[in-house]
């Protein structure tokens, strides 16, 4: 087994290169039809390993969001294969796919997407409630997770009473609370100022990557590239390069 040690994490950071978390091969996706057709993805092949933090970078409109939507099982590709931990979304019925998402995927959104009428703890508890956990137990677990992201004292606050950075930390807690194996983040820091964004990224880097969990983060933010194990650069619906560090990537 080939592993990479990074050492800073609160848990053992181990990338397992012997298996594949996300396997994409020849994925294409077009939106619309006729005159309006948009070729969002033009044959994407990419592998993400368990325990790995993969960043997707590229100009706006190059297909990053489309790609992680397919990886997360909320969008169907036109062609090609996408397997997540060996499971093929295409072979699942809609309900199965929905349940699989609930069990396996954590989501972090640029706009946080917290439910405004739920408190921080209740928002974090939602993935557990979806999986049928009792409310009391779920809130308890949510509070622990909020503690891990440094927001134990804001458990009862409504999203509107939290700063952007705090809201994103609540969202990160929500993406972690049910211990998913894959977390997808779409520009998690781009609504935040650089300092807050950096802290949020630190949190994702430290807390999220544990016990074989993989992260895919779409970002524009060059300052957080250093958190990535690998960076894939996209343009025009294609991957134009994958590198272990931002330096190599820019050299390419």
């Amino acid at each position: 087994m080939v592993t990479t040690e990074k050492g800073k994490q609160p848990c053992d950071k181990v990338i397992d290169y012997s298996s594949v978390a996300v396997y994409c091969s020849g994925i294409t996706k077009t939106y619309g039809s006729g005159h309006e057709v948009v070729h969002a993805l033009n044959g994407i092949s990419l592998e993400i390993y368990p325990g790995e933090l993969m960043m997707l970078v590229g100009p706006s409109g190059c297909g990053k969001t489309t790609l992680i939507s397919i990886m997360a099982g909320i969008l169907d590709q036109d062609d090609g294969e996408c397997l997540v931990f060996g499971h093929n979304y295409r072979q699942m019925r809609e309900v199965e796919k929905t349940r699989y998402r609930g069990d396996t995927i954590g989501f972090v959104f640029q706009a946080y997407n917290l439910i405004p009428t739920l408190t921080a703890a209740e928002n974090v508890a939602v993935p557990l409630l979806i999986r049928g956990m009792k409310r009391k137990e779920a809130i308890e677990k949510a509070r622990e997770t909020l503690n891990n992201v440094g927001l134990a004292d804001r458990a009862k606050a409504l999203p509107a009473d939290l700063s952007g950075g705090q809201q994103q930390r609540v969202a990160i807690a929500r993406s972690l609370v049910h211990d998913p194996k894959l977390i997808v983040c779409d520009e998690p820091t781009s609504a935040l100022d650089h300092e807050t964004g950096y802290k949020v990224m630190e949190l994702l880097g430290f807390v999220a990557v544990c016990s074989g969990r993989s992260l895919v983060i779409v970002t524009h933010d060059a300052r957080i590239f250093s958190f990535a194990d690998r960076i894939a650069r996209m343009d025009d619906g294609k991957i134009i390069g994958v590198a272990n560090s931002p330096d190599k990537l820019t050299k390419k």
Binding site: I74, E94, V95, T98, R101, N113, P116, T117, L118
Partner: protein, 386 residues
């Protein structure tokens, strides 16, 4: 997830109140319109209600409703008394007569003439005097609304209050003197004229001379006698029309339904209440779901199945529907209580509550279904859109 559904619903006070007000308003509107309609329809047969002692009403076969007087010959009374199963049968005069008031003005009154011997069919509630006082010469009993209203005497000084006619006051009916011996309460009817009770024989004196004067024959069935068998027998033996009390009420309502614009107009008002109700309630609830579409999308992305989302929306619809129904019906009841004793007809039997309940359920299900369609078709991929 029920907890999340409830919190989504009630968490935003302003929106929640908006939906509740919409549903409450429509529930109130539907209940109130139907209650007024029912009240009006009940008024059409108010006189039959007041004369509840009779099991069977016998009349000319051409009579279409209770105020439609087609007199019979007095001799018919004896034929009815001879029919099997009749305990007793008494005559009743009902007709519109012109009364001259002490002030010299004329007022049409609804004259009711009761069987001289028994006074059967008289008002059930007297305010002043006794029913038996009708036996005094020239005696009449007037209903209290008429006594204080259309029959009242002019004020002593101009601009003052009109003086109700009272015991001892006189009227002149077709040149015959009548003396008030009592006042009574009658159920309001569609006829706005004052009701004046007297004996049958005196009524026939008051009435213009005609060959036939007998308006109705009131019949009491023998104990254990089947009313419908009796009406059939009366019809067969005499060729007259005979209806049970409820049949006669129905006949009257049907006539008003068919031949007057009132039910149509009110039917339209009820329908309008319904449509406005659906529009307001459906719209507010639908908007609520639309406003929350992004959150439903997030829940869907995070693993909530369509079936669960469906349950959540139905729960939300049931909560606002239930509360809106309760408050609306409560408000309508309160409204009915407040207009009690006024000109406004208002009757709220349990059937109306049930119909409103069904209507509200229908509205909620409809708006939930429309909302659900939106959520079912929702692409979870919208969650990444900003």
């Amino acid at each position: 997830m029920n907890f999340v559904a409830i919190k989504m619903l009630v968490g935003d006070r302003a929106k929640y109140l908006g939906i509740l007000i919409g549903l409450t308003f429509s529930s109130f509107l539907i209940t109130e319109q139907m209650a007024i309609f029912t009240g009006l329809m009940t008024r059409t047969f108010g006189f039959i209600t007041d004369t509840s002692i009779a099991d069977v009403w016998v009349m000319d076969p051409k009579v279409q409703f209770v105020d439609d007087i087609k007199p019979m010959q007095d001799t018919q009374l004896y034929r009815i008394r001879g029919v099997d199963g009749v305990e007793w049968a008494v005559p009743l005069y009902k007709g519109l007569l012109k009364a001259k008031l002490e002030s010299g003005t004329f007022q049409t009154v609804n004259m009711i003439g009761l069987d001289d011997a028994t006074l059967i069919g008289g008002p059930s509630k007297m305010i002043q005097g006794k029913l038996e006082d009708l036996r005094q010469s020239e005696g009449v009993i007037v209903d209290i609304v008429g006594a204080t209203g259309k029959l009242a005497k002019p004020p002593l000084s101009p601009g003052g209050e009109r003086i109700p006619i009272n015991i001892g006051d006189t009227l002149e009916i077709n040149d015959h003197r009548a003396t008030v011996v009592g006042t009574c309460v009658v159920t309001r009817t569609f006829q706005s004229q004052p009701v004046v009770y007297t004996t049958y024989s005196r009524a026939t004196i008051f009435a213009p001379r005609e060959r036939k004067l007998l308006s109705f024959i009131l019949v009491k069935a023998k104990q254990n006698e089947d009313i419908h068998a009796l009406t059939r027998r009366i019809r067969k033996v005499t060729g007259l029309a005979a209806y049970s009390r409820d049949e006669f009420k129905q006949l009257t309502v049907n006539y008003f339904m068919k031949y007057t614009g009132i039910p149509v107009n009110f039917g339209i008002a009820v329908l309008l209440g319904f449509v406005v109700g659906i529009a307001i309630a459906g719209q507010t609830f639908y908007n609520f779901t639309l406003d929350n579409l992004r959150h439903f999308g997030t829940l869907k992305a995070m693993g909530t199945t369509n079936a669960k989302l469906l349950g959540m929306i139905i729960l939300q619809a049931m909560i606002v529907g239930g509360i809106g129904y309760g408050i609306g019906v409560g408000a309508a009841t309160l409204f009915g209580y407040m207009v009690k004793g006024t000109e406004l007809a208002f009757r709220l039997p349990w059937q109306i509550l049930a119909i409103t309940g069904l209507a509200m359920a229908f509205i909620c299900i409809l708006s939930a279904v429309i909302s659900i369609r939106k959520v079912m078709k929702l692409e979870p991929a919208i969650v990444f859109k900003t």
